[in-house]
């Protein structure tokens, strides 16, 4: 379902009138509560914590298409909230998007744009292009001025070839042959800068992406668990989850339970404890039919 968001607009410039359009429906995200929230915060009410994907995500262009990679750890501050979350999101059959930042934001943003793109595909009768997905994402994120914490790596193959974009929460995008995002992006970028070449083979590309994600997993506290990969070519998509279980849960070496009978019972005594009735309350509970 296409959701159109309306933001109350105070200024109407001549340019806005020139590009005037149909009446926008009400509802959706508004900024009117910001002042109230600030006030509440000052009164001591705690702001609800967002659940972040610490994350290492990356992508590169190789000979036949795109390889996207991601770790699978989702953190709430220092606790691992999800040990195996999926960070590579479906946008369309030929376009996938990795998301770093606030987990809810990346999930909802990618789903929204995936939905818009599907409607667009039905409208145009053509396979969607990566640049279209990029435009939709950047225009939405710009509108929210960075408050939607979604840092994305968008990749896909369309009629014009393979394309890879990195999209920042404020709405700027870069079109590059290899990109990394997330808290582990520096470790992953170091790997890419060292070994990336144009026209890698499928296996070399997958190994390089896997190594970059592992660099993030092992050197960044916000990233961990497994490596997910997504290989996109003109004809098919290989969504490999997990590509590698880099952190398998260990097997317990010994038992810590004590068997019954370890502590010998010497004697037992039964005592009656007198309880005083302090208060009686009779309450009518409505019956539920």
């Amino acid at each position: 379902m296409k959701t159109i968001v309306r933001i109350p607009c105070v200024t109407t410039t001549s340019i806005s009138n020139m590009a005037a359009c149909a009446e926008l429906p009400a509802g959706g995200f508004v900024f009117e509560n910001c002042q109230r929230n600030k006030f509440l915060e000052s009164q001591g009410y705690k702001v609800p914590k967002a659940y972040k994907t610490g994350t290492t995500i990356c992508g590169l262009v190789y000979k036949d298409g795109i390889v996207l990679g991601a770790d699978t750890r989702a953190t709430e501050d220092t606790i691992v909230a999800d040990k195996n979350c999926a960070k590579i999101h479906y946008i369309s059959s030929n376009i996938y998007c990795c998301g770093a930042g606030t987990a809810a934001d990346t999930e909802m943003t990618t789903q929204l744009i995936s939905s818009e793109l599907e409607l667009h595909r039905l409208n145009t009768g053509r396979q969607p292009r990566v640049c279209t997905a990029n435009r939709l994402l950047k225009q939405m994120l710009f509108r929210y001025h960075g408050y939607i914490g979604a840092a994305l790596v968008l990749g896909g193959v369309d009629s014009t070839g393979p394309h890879l974009y990195s999209i920042w929460p404020h709405g700027s995008t870069d079109k590059l042959p290899f990109v990394t995002m997330g808290s582990g992006s520096l470790a992953a970028m170091a790997t890419f800068e060292d070994r990336y070449k144009a026209d890698l083979s499928r296996d070399e590309a997958m190994k390089l992406v896997r190594d970059a994600i592992c660099a993030g997993i092992f050197n960044d506290l916000g990233s961990g668990s497994n490596v997910d990969l997504c290989v996109i070519t003109k004809d098919k998509v290989d969504y490999i989850r997990p590509y590698e279980e880099a952190n398998k849960k260990g097997v317990r070496q010994g038992k810590y339970r004590y068997d019954r009978g370890t502590t010998v019972v010497i004697s037992s005594e039964v005592k009656k404890v007198e309880l005083e009735v302090i208060d009686t309350e009779v309450r009518a509970v409505p019956m539920e039919t």
Partner: protein
């Protein structure tokens, strides 16, 4: 849908936005420059975009096309300038259809100015508009933060430009040829890169004349060298 997205673009002016870059925002740290010569303009820029101390893109193209013969050099917030350039490109496309001829550089500069001035409280964008049209030849317009519009024989912008004011005032000569302008711009950008931490990477240049746009890239050893203590 695209139209709706664009008219809502700056609606959160009412948001208490600080006139400046928000924490975590990607900026084109930058050195940008444009020079007019007889027959066209030369534009040049470095290629670094940063988020704090990390270089998000070391091969950025800050010279963005808005029409066949008009380019803009972007500095300030990457998101703001990309969004503005997209909207201006859209408006100039309309203008071309309505007028039946290529838009004038002065028109493009004014569209940029409208956008940057009207939303000056929520934008952080320093733009140089430069191009060629058949009525006025090569023209350079500066639209700095705040939304002023100023035409000049040359313009510099971005964080690295502060190191160039003396150099350009001393070295600029009116009526230079294309090759001299290219040398002037590449030398200036190289000097800024060597002094400004937010500028770096490669030097991208373009020559815009009635024949179209010719792009140049200076990488590695091709960057002009100046006094180095070694």
């Amino acid at each position: 849908m695209a139209t709706m997205a664009m008219t809502n673009m700056f609606a959160s002016d009412q948001l208490a936005a600080v006139g400046g870059l928000r924490p975590g925002e990607v900026t084109t740290g930058t050195t940008i420059m444009a020079v007019e010569f007889d027959g066209g303009v030369i534009i040049g820029a470095d290629s670094r975009t940063t988020t704090g101390a990390y270089i998000a893109n070391r091969v950025t193209d800050k010279l963005t096309k808005v029409t066949e013969h008009i380019y803009c050099c972007r500095s300030g917030s990457a998101a703001d300038t990309q969004a503005i350039a997209d909207i201006v490109k859209y408006h100039l496309d309309f203008n071309r259809m309505e007028m039946g001829e290529e838009p004038r550089v002065h028109t493009a500069a004014n569209v940029f100015k409208e956008m940057c001035y009207d939303h000056r409280d929520s934008l952080s964008a320093g733009i140089i508009v430069a191009g060629w049209d058949k009525r006025g030849g090569g023209q350079v317009f500066s639209v700095p933060i705040g939304g002023m519009l100023q035409r000049g024989p040359f313009a510099i912008g971005g964080s690295g430009s502060t190191y160039l004011y003396g150099y350009v005032d001393a070295m600029f000569k009116p009526d230079m040829k294309q090759e001299d302008c290219l040398k002037f711009v590449s030398n200036a950008v190289a000097l800024a890169i060597s002094r400004d931490g937010s500028s770096g990477g490669i030097i991208r240049m373009a020559a815009i004349t009635k024949n179209g746009v010719e792009r140049f890239t200076l990488t590695g050893d091709q960057l002009p060298k100046f006094y180095e203590d070694n």
